[in-house]
């Protein structure tokens, strides 16, 4: 027996092993800041993922073009496609974490949940901007996770506050239509709790991921139950279908409020005029009338360095939200640089930066984002910033901001968040929190 043919037999495995055995060293000739961007430009939710990813990338590009990066260090944004799929998301994480990743924006509840336990081990913070696990707002329990500017729970409280201020909430019937996955179910504990304390009746209408475009049964039930208000936690193709169905059963659309993932331009353009009156929460400004957005147009889009299909897409709801995500990260990088005194920071530095973020009105103006959003101030204990949301309304062709910022009912929500955080940690005996003084 000779060995040659064995080599052939093992060829595949050997080549693969050799190819991946050595990780390529990251070139550190000049200081760089590496930011992985987990995107979903494909799959059933691509409609929301694409503008978000564009806004995210364009803002960092703009900083590179305009300011030469942050603190002299160039920003490198590497996209990794997850298709909103947890397994691919974890793969993206594994593939990029050793390149000096500063923070992860998982952009899906499933991926967020998978990354939260990994963050303290690999010392890379997870920044799930207004999504993921609401309980992660509790900084003592989740040192490595941030949810600025607010959580699903606080957002829900803002929406309920709006309802309360517009005709009262007591003894009303509130319908909650939601995507039947972790994301949609996330606010249910709070909703059930508040329905008791605030005295409204709750009706739940789950929409399966496979049934997103087939909601007539849910809306028939709505027609039967006649709730006074409808709240939606929807995403992707679920949103336009829901608004269409609501219009079909002649539900008063100005009493139908979506959360901030259920109010994008994509969603309502697919509905058009019949969607007039539908409202949605938002925490990032709409349109191009912000100096920062103008800078993006000037430095990135007009030079052809953006992936947006047309310049008109800049400034739409999800584009601006992606940009806002980048703004917070950029600000955290800047804070971290100032606190550590080095340009090329690490994930651990980034955590400190995120914790000490302070986007007040003055700073927002400096950034060219006056009136874009409410102020955000983080702390060791508060990884949420208890930000406010405003409501926007579809006028048949475009979104209009129709309310001022509505403060959340933080006093009610915070204890519940703490309870939830305790519960999350309770069955993990070796979970490491932090003490804030």
């Amino acid at each position: 027996m000779k060995p040659q043919n064995k080599l052939k037999k093992l060829g595949c495995a050997a080549i693969a092993a050799a190819a991946f055995a050595v990780t390529l060293p990251v070139a550190q000739a000049e200081d760089t800041l590496f930011i992985p961007s987990l995107t979903y430009r494909t799959g059933p939710f691509a409609g929301g993922g694409i503008p978000f990813a564009d806004g995210f990338a364009d803002y960092f590009n703009m900083l590179n073009e305009r300011d030469g990066g942050i603190g002299g260090a160039k920003l490198i944004v590497e996209e990794c496609e997850t298709a909103y799929n947890t397994q691919k998301g974890v793969e993206c994480y594994e593939a990029t974490k050793d390149k000096g990743a500063l923070a992860y924006n998982p952009l899906s509840t499933g991926i967020t949940l998978a990354l939260i336990p990994k963050a303290p081990v690999d010392e890379i913070p997870v920044f799930s901007m207004g999504y993921g696990l609401s309980a992660a707002a509790i900084g003592e329990k989740f040192p490595w996770t941030f949810v600025y500017p607010t959580t699903y729970w606080n957002q829900l409280s803002s929406i309920l506050k709006y309802i309360d201020a517009n005709g009262g909430l007591k003894d009303q019937k509130v319908g909650f239509i939601y995507l039947d996955v972790g994301y949609g179910k996330e606010p249910l504990p709070l909703l059930e709790n508040l329905s008791g304390t605030m005295g409204f009746e709750l009706a739940k209408y789950p929409v399966g991921v496979k049934e997103m475009q087939n909601q007539s049964a849910q809306w028939l039930n709505v027609r039967k139950d006649k709730p006074d208000w409808m709240i939606m936690w929807g995403w992707g193709a679920m949103n336009p279908t829901a608004v269409k169905e609501a219009a079909k059963i002649r539900y008063p659309l100005d009493r139908f409020i979506g959360n901030w993932w259920a109010g994008s331009h994509n969603d309502l353009k697919a509905v058009g005029k019949p969607g007039k009156g539908y409202m949605a929460a938002n925490f990032s400004g709409i349109g191009q009338d912000f100096p920062a957005v103008q800078d993006i147009l000037k430095h990135v889009v007009e030079k052809g360095n953006s992936k947006v299909a047309s310049a008109d897409d800049v400034g739409n709801v999800l584009y601006n939200r992606g940009m806002f995500n980048a703004v917070i990260l950029a600000e955290a990088i800047k804070v971290a640089q100032e606190m550590t005194g080095k340009a090329a920071i690490t994930g651990a530095d980034m955590r400190v930066g995120l914790e000490n973020i302070n986007l007040d009105e003055a700073r927002l103006k400096e950034l060219g984002l006056e009136g874009f959003t409410g102020p955000i101030k983080g702390s060791c204990a508060d990884h949420e910033g208890a930000g406010s949301v405003f409501l926007q309304q579809w006028n048949g062709e475009d979104w209009e901001k129709v309310t001022d910022l509505i403060e959340p009912m933080n006093d009610t929500v915070r204890p519940l968040l703490e309870e939830a955080a305790d519960k999350y940690v309770s069955d993990k005996p070796d979970w490491e929190g932090q003490t804030c003084t």
Partner: protein, 322 residues
């Protein structure tokens, strides 16, 4: 014991009382079920056409629906007039049929049905990738009005209430009926149609009387492509055109179980049973289980049905021989 009786009452009696107490609402539920049933039936019809003529279980039918609708909408977005976009889309579906026949089916003649199924799943991946590559992943809205369909609705006042009919739904029903009628005439009156049936009955016999199998295959795939386009327009008008639609097409598989793989009337009746059945079940029984039962109702119905009638609704009992 009491809870058991109460549960039994809630399951077996209360839903029917509900139905009777709001008859106009019941009618609305049945109408909604009827419309989605029609759409399931149309997808199933595409399956049946291909299976009848080539014994290929075309898993790609669902993605063909999305693909056709995407081509149409994207052409319109590029500034092509609606009527021209429609014609070009039909041509694209024809081209697709030809290439599927040339590149895939011709090479897989006489293979086991599982292999052919797999090939169409491969085709699904190709179409999905190509569709997103060319047209992008964003959902698009169907050009309903531009194609001449009304987006309004009409009310029917009955039983002290109203039943709302969307015009587009009525159009879907009418078009489905016309298509089934046209297919019926096509199968029984035209030369190609008769050839198709000959192929369905016996491939070799059909070959021996000089019918080109390749031609037939291309034709049935084209026909299913057109059925897919119609389905895509109708469903797209109800929600939007996106790849999320593909998963709904899987329901047509349950329809096929009820109706049988080769029966056109079976596809229609099966589609309506699934459509109306799942709406009734979701609306009247769903809340008992926390809702969302629509996701599995059709399949479980098909499974139970098969246990009692393995040959399907219109199939004949098969005698096994050794």
């Amino acid at each position: 014991m009491e809870t058991f009786v109460a549960g039994l009452h809630a399951f077996l009696v209360a839903p029917f009382l509900d139905m009777v107490s709001l008859p106009d609402f019941l009618l609305q539920v049945i109408w909604e079920g009827f419309v989605s049933g029609i759409l399931y039936a149309l997808i199933a019809l595409g399956f049946v056409l291909i299976y009848k003529a080539s014994a290929v279980f075309n898993f790609a039918q669902g993605i063909m629906v999305v693909f056709a609708a995407l081509v149409l909408v994207s052409l319109f977005d590029l500034g092509v007039p609606a009527w021209l976009a429609l014609i070009i889309t039909i041509a694209v579906m024809g081209l697709l049929a030809l290439s599927v026949e040339r590149l895939v089916l011709r090479k897989l003649v006489n293979q086991h049905e599982a292999i052919l199924l797999m090939a169409t799943i491969g085709l699904t991946l190709v179409l999905k990738g190509a569709g997103q590559l060319v047209f992008g992943g964003e959902p698009k809205s169907m050009i309903t009005e531009e194609l001449g369909f009304s987006t309004g609705s009409s009310d029917w006042e009955v039983f002290d209430g109203i039943v709302i009919f969307q015009h587009i739904d009525i159009a879907a029903a009418v078009i489905a009926i016309i298509m089934v009628a046209v297919l019926g005439v096509f199968f029984s009156k035209t030369r190609i149609g008769r050839a198709l049936r000959a192929v369905a009955d016996d491939h070799q016999a059909a070959l021996s009387v000089g019918i080109s199998l390749n031609q037939i295959w291309a034709i049935v795939w084209f026909a299913s492509g057109i059925v897919a386009l119609v389905t895509g327009i109708m469903w797209g008008a109800r929600s939007d055109v996106s790849f999320a639609l593909e998963i709904i097409a899987l329901k047509a598989l349950a329809v096929l179980i009820l109706g049988g793989f080769t029966s056109v009337p079976g596809a229609i009746v099966g589609g309506l049973i699934v459509g109306i059945g799942e709406k009734l079940f979701e609306v009247y029984w769903g809340p008992m289980f926390g809702g969302g039962v629509e996701a599995w109702f059709a399949y479980v119905l098909a499974l139970i049905f098969l246990l009692f009638r393995p040959q399907g609704m219109f199939g004949e009992r098969h005698i096994e021989r050794v």
